[in-house]
């Protein structure tokens, strides 16, 4: 029991101390202040930022949860349809058929740090308009912040919303 409960976790904790963020989770700072964790999504609702995915817990990093809504639940379908309307309102030029499912469905953890590439692309116009930036500059930024499949071979590609938004803020200066 000593071996399993004390020695083993201590070895792991010791080794973990050498990883990024010293075993406490990798933090991201802006102007010397911690503004978030690289792996944890946070809420972006202002029009000038790229939005993340809907979260069932409002991005509460101390109480992760999914919505657990079943696929045929009428309340849930209403919710999705409302999210579509919100997206269309803020992005007037957007066509319904271009909205990817991840932008209107809640993530499993409620803390998903990523959106799909398409999810970022549909927001470019809005961001550029609000920030008075060239659409091309913003589009380039999205491409730069898109993480491709693992080793270029396995899995989907994704965009880290926090990193993208911070890069966006950098651009302004």
């Amino acid at each position: 029991m000593v071996l399993l409960c004390v020695i083993y976790p201590l070895i792991v904790a010791f080794a973990g101390g050498f990883s990024k963020g010293n075993g406490g989770g990798e933090k991201i700072t802006k102007n010397g202040k911690v503004v978030g964790y690289a792996l944890l999504g946070q809420s972006f609702t202002q029009a000038e930022y790229f939005w993340g995915r809907p979260s069932a817990v409002g991005y509460n990093a101390a109480g992760s949860a999914g919505s657990n809504k079943g696929p045929s639940n009428p309340d849930y379908l209403q919710q999705v349809s409302d999210r579509i309307d919100t997206l269309l309102k803020y992005n007037p030029s957007l066509k319904k058929a271009d909205i990817p499912a991840d932008m209107v469905t809640a993530s499993g953890s409620g803390l998903d740090p990523n959106i799909s590439e398409q999810g970022a692309i549909i927001q470019i116009k809005r961001i550029a308009a609000y920030r008075k930036l060239d659409e091309k500059t913003v589009a380039e930024l999205v491409v730069k912040n898109t993480q491709g499949p693992l080793f270029g071979l396995f899995g989907p590609s994704s965009v880290n919303v926090l990193k993208l938004n911070l890069a966006l803020d950098e651009l302004k200066k």
Partner: protein, 572 residues
Amino acid sequence: MNTELLGIIATYALTLVIAIPLGKYLAKVFAGEKVWTDFLKPLESGIFKLSGINPKEEMNWKQHMKALLTINLVWLVYGFFVLIYQDKLPLNPDGNPGMTPDLSFNTVISFVVNCDLQHYSGESGVTYLTQHVVMMFLMFVSCATGIASAVVFFKAFRDKTTVKLGNFWDFFVKSITRLLLPLSLVVALILAFNGTPTSYEAKDQFISVQGDTVNVSRGPAAGMIAIKHLGTNGGGWFGVNSAHPLENPNYLTNSVELIAQVIIPIAMVIAFGIFIRRRKLAWIIFGVMTIGMFLLLIPTVSSELGGNPALAKMGISQTTGAMEGKEVRFGPAISGYWSTVTTIISTGSVNNMHDSTMPLTGTWQLLGMMINSFYGGCGVGILNYFIYLIIAVFISGLMVGRTPEFLGHKVEAREVKIAALITLLSPFLILAGTAIASYVFTSHGAADWAVQPQNWLNNPGFHGFSEMLYEVTSSNANNGSGFEGLGDNNIFWNVLTGFVLLIGRFLPIIGPVAIAGLLGAKKYIPESAGTLKTDTLTFGLMTFAVIIVLNALSYFPALALGPLAEYFTMLK
């Protein structure tokens, strides 16, 4: 999308590459042959000396089961009290409260039986201390219990006639020192260097870019996540398990966690073949299990990639598949693979919310847990499969008019009775449990419990029924995943699933070990032309058919009421 399918193929291929040599290694370890990890011997003899055990003492099957039940009882009592008083014990930086007795009862049982059904949420329900000395400790030992029981079963068929089946403590300790601990260390380190926290610091707080104050739960999670998968336990550090970005930071760790949970169940099958010197039999078993897995996997992945038809009607694009309850970094394909793997073996960890998966996926998840032996849990998977084998031997014996035999031992009334009882046990527990729950839900909706029965369900209609069915099935299979919308932290669910867990764990271990013990003690009959061969393709197909027929007969009505009904209404 192709990269997503490639991801599944690569993950599975790598699983086999690791599992097959691991099986060979395990066979050697348990046969007492020389292996390269023998440098750990002093550690083991130290443990034996401290606890006053003679690891050379041979036990028969009854003594084995006595040892197993005794030690499990000790863990139950110990864990129960530690959880209740966790608020008064050290290492509780977040100031989390102690558990209520019914929640503690449920939690400790569920961890002792390798299920890890969690009616609490990791961030707020337990402390760093209990995560270690209860959760993680039980993850190691419950898995080792399963492996040790499987080795006892192996032992019964190694020699022609024997009642001496080795020493339970010897198998138990070796499972930990030679297998679980070293592998966990490797997995934990991979996780730590990909961003899973390992330090003992308490909750953190930061101000987000938009100016919101955010609290972040963390803690020394990497070590626990490693054994949670290797030991097919599945209990997460955080509430949402491996969907949490700190518990499962990226696609690479996702694959590592996926591989970790399947290697031991596969390795045990390979080890079985080598250990009893009948490799062909093991390959046939492996083949049947693999076919079973793919039959569940392919429709699951395709239904998830297909997306939600109700959302399709709204006119949005679902090129990425169904995304509710899923994480972008994994995508629906590997999430589908995960949900298949985690239900066919008894892990029950999740990287996506099963409650939000498509209705057909729900059907395959339930079926995977009902069968519970396509690979199956650590050690217990092969024991479950053995029950189906005995039934298949019996039925085919009757069909061709030969005395049923398995590996040179006559299968007689007593063994078949045990096998039949164990086969009947699962449907009984699952269906009766769901029936009681449905009755309470409809007739006593206002009962004064922490969650009133009328508020149990997070989803109306057929899906709500599926939530209850899933919970009981998961308990019986010692799986531990859930349709988590269910309001399950109240006295009814805690007690009901507590008992289902206990019965669903120990009888299906004792049954097969008893059969093996009884068979092993019988006179060995050399193979002749009249022997029913169990290591042929035909017999493999026969076993497969037995598995399908038994499960279809038992569960089809329940599945039809839940996920299948939901599926057909959604098609409208």
